[in-house]
Symmetry: C2
Subunit: 434 residues, 2 copies
């Protein structure tokens, strides 16, 4: 088998066999398939696509390229969750305790955020003492004893994906549905969960700009899961505006705590309940999504999810004083309000602009080695459909200095579209692919 | 300017600006544009193409990446010739003396053959003493004093093309008309000729399989020449069967000598006259291709081209005894005839199969470091349209041993299609793009 012949086969519209895909990924992991060959192949895949079988084989080959977790000796069934990334998305901080409190152990490996604001790991690290770098023994003990672990992705999980992802980033081959789907799912399969719920976001500030693209990605990822013998469901959800009110690491932890204590924003609660309901059906805890949703609401309303969150934080070294009194969490020295430039109805909020502003305030990283300021961020006061008067705050800017706040204010104002017509709030969940 | 943005621009169907192409080629030459980025770009170009302006800019950028010859202090006008490569193609050995004897100095850099049989350099080296590795001073002196030099391509001519060509070979991005055209023309532009005639071959054993592809490539290369201010014409010629009778290095030199002495095969003479006629029009030596052809026939028939060939060989150190008595040239110890398996009319000869057989006999190289046996090859006895009787020879195999000859015989027989219907010989020149 010659690599160049396989590139030409895909270039000319052929389907690569299972053995051919295994040859390419094993060779790329070992270095016998060169970067320049892999990038040419990725570009050919961009143009020619891959069918479900090829995409599934690619995912499995990448999942097998490094360590593969098997937690069945600890828990008969574990669940996992993945989001394609959105602005103000603190769902995992709520869903983890919620699902595990309802008897579904969650063992989650998460990446650090790059680009918009922080990732789940960055958010948890806003809690003083919280440790995300766990040994394999600690990770397994957390699943067994608490039923919930969230840790930074460790060493050798799907190294072929790691190489390919970095390559795609510099070669203009990121935007390929089969390659995106294989990348996400290879890490999820290697991490070992039996049931996986995916949150595919669409709209400004989301990776998938259109609902059609989001559906194509969701369908592809569910198909991969089936190919690999896992139970997978994918919700397609809006990024027409940020989720909840808070964007920024400590601010999002505060909002997650409020939600677990029963005072969450309606959209965040709705999403966590819906994703938990899908997991409950996949895990056999509920017969229907409606029954699953009822189980989630009960678990949240009873306080069981909150109790579970505290156990989880304590288990990973977090200082519970900051969780019980969240006003102790890092807070910004400057809070500046952004006034509405005119009266009217909020018609749209560009989440991408908000996310980039948080980045610029110091709440995200542009490069891997950047440090994050956990305190900075935004608190949204007016969401889509809300009526505002001129001068009334659209949002609060939490910044390290007045200068930093002022520097982003004009762009933040431009992220808001204010009209005269009344506007219905956009639906949160468009559809679920099962 | 970021490389990845330029890859994405081309991927999404955009046209790259002159400055963007210069940035990419300069960066690739210097190493700031990585191989994996260039291969992804090449694959994007495979799918999206390049317009004439982009292709011209790419060619100029590659031509400028290394040394650029300027011979105007030696000769006011020089000519050059390039063939996309065919089986048994000894045209340069005849056209060089012919054109230069007619007052058009030719300064030709040529690559060594790779793949099918040998290249022009390998053929000339079948003449004992002939030197193709010339210093710059020797090269210039040959143009000034003799009016004809053919030398192996020296060090730093279009190094960006050299890198890109090697990259395309392993990344499945060879078959792109703009990339092929830019590769050929970058070397021709850097070599400095004012007038260039191109021979684009089409058919089995040729790089361009269809006449449409050959026309597209010819048009693209003529457009590049115009973009660069050179005079260029391109003939589209058949590879429906090998040119002349002989394939193999010394065998082809013998056939070229016979042609220069007035005993050449009709197709080889016709092609050399036609290509020379185009050069004569480009160089202002003739008003029309017909007048140019008359000039070429006179130059050939008068013996002037033969005299010029002897001067050229002597100037580059070749031993004239071998030229004057070509039976002294290396000859194979074994000559084995291939009999026709049935009576009938030769309907087709697959030149690719013949070329590969010569390679296997030792007359070409599979890798750069392979040595060539100048003596081996094939002499075709029956061409397309010829009537043969069962057992009559189709061709002679010139081999180093009976074993080597027998090893290729069966495949050679399969290269011939023999039918019952009478067949017209295929036209030699389909059209000329000017």
């Amino acid at each position: 088998m010659r690599t160049v012949d396989l590139i030409i086969k895909k270039r000319d519209g052929g389907a690569l066999s299972t053995a051919e895909i295994d040859f390419l990924i094993a060779g790329y992991t070992q270095g016998t398939v060169a970067h320049e060959q892999m990038s040419a192949l990725a570009m050919a895949i961009f143009f020619r696509g891959m069918d479900d079988r090829e995409t599934g084989d690619l995912t499995l080959a990448m999942a097998r390229s490094g360590d593969q977790l098997d937690l069945h000796d600890i828990a008969p069934l574990t669940v996992d969750k993945h989001s394609t990334g959105g602005i103000g998305d603190k769902t995992s901080l709520v869903l983890g305790p919620l699902a595990s409190a309802a008897g579904m152990p969650m063992a989650k490996m998460s990446g650090r955020g790059l680009g918009f604001s922080g990732g789940t790991i960055d958010k948890l690290e806003a809690i003083p003492g919280f440790r995300t770098e766990l040994s394999s023994a600690e990770f397994r003990a957390g699943v067994r004893e608490i039923g919930l672990v969230i840790a930074a992705q460790s060493g050798d999980l799907a190294p072929a994906d790691k190489r390919l992802y970095a390559l795609r980033d510099v070669t203009g081959t990121v935007e390929s549905i089969p390659l995106i789907a294989a990348s996400v799912m290879s890490k999820k399969l290697a991490a070992g969960a039996d049931c996986i719920v995916l949150d595919v976001k669409t709209g400004a500030g989301a990776f998938m700009r259109t609902q059609d693209d989001a559906r194509a990605l969701a369908e592809r990822m569910v198909a991969i899961g089936q190919h690999a013998g896992r139970r997978v469901a994918a919700a397609i959800t809006t990024m027409a505006q940020p989720l909840g009110a808070n964007i920024g690491n400590a601010l999002e932890v505060k909002e997650a705590i409020a939600t677990l204590r029963g005072h969450g924003p309606a959209d965040l609660v709705e999403l966590c309940v819906a994703l938990g309901a899908e997991l409950a059906v996949l895990a056999g805890k509920a017969a229907t999504p409606a029954a699953g949703a009822a189980l989630m609401r009960t678990t949240l309303d009873s306080g069981a999810a909150w109790v579970q969150f505290r156990r989880f934080v304590a288990n990973q070294g977090g200082d519970l004083r900051y969780v019980d009194e969240p006003e102790r969490l890092p807070s910004a020295p400057v809070i500046q309000e952004l006034p509405a430039p005119r009266s009217g109805v909020v018609a749209a909020i560009n989440g991408e602009v908000l996310g980039m502003a948080v980045n610029e305030l110091g709440g995200g990283r542009m490069r891997k080695e950047d440090n994050i300021d956990p305190a900075v961020g935004l608190v949204i006061a007016a969401k889509v459909g809300d009526r505002v008067s001129e001068g009334q705050p659209l949002l609060q800017i939490h910044a390290a200095s007045a200068q930093a706040a002022t520097a982003v204010a004009a762009r933040l104002a431009a992220a808001y579209t204010i009209g005269d017509q009344s506007v219905a709030a956009p639906p949160l969940i468009y559809e679920v692919i099962r």
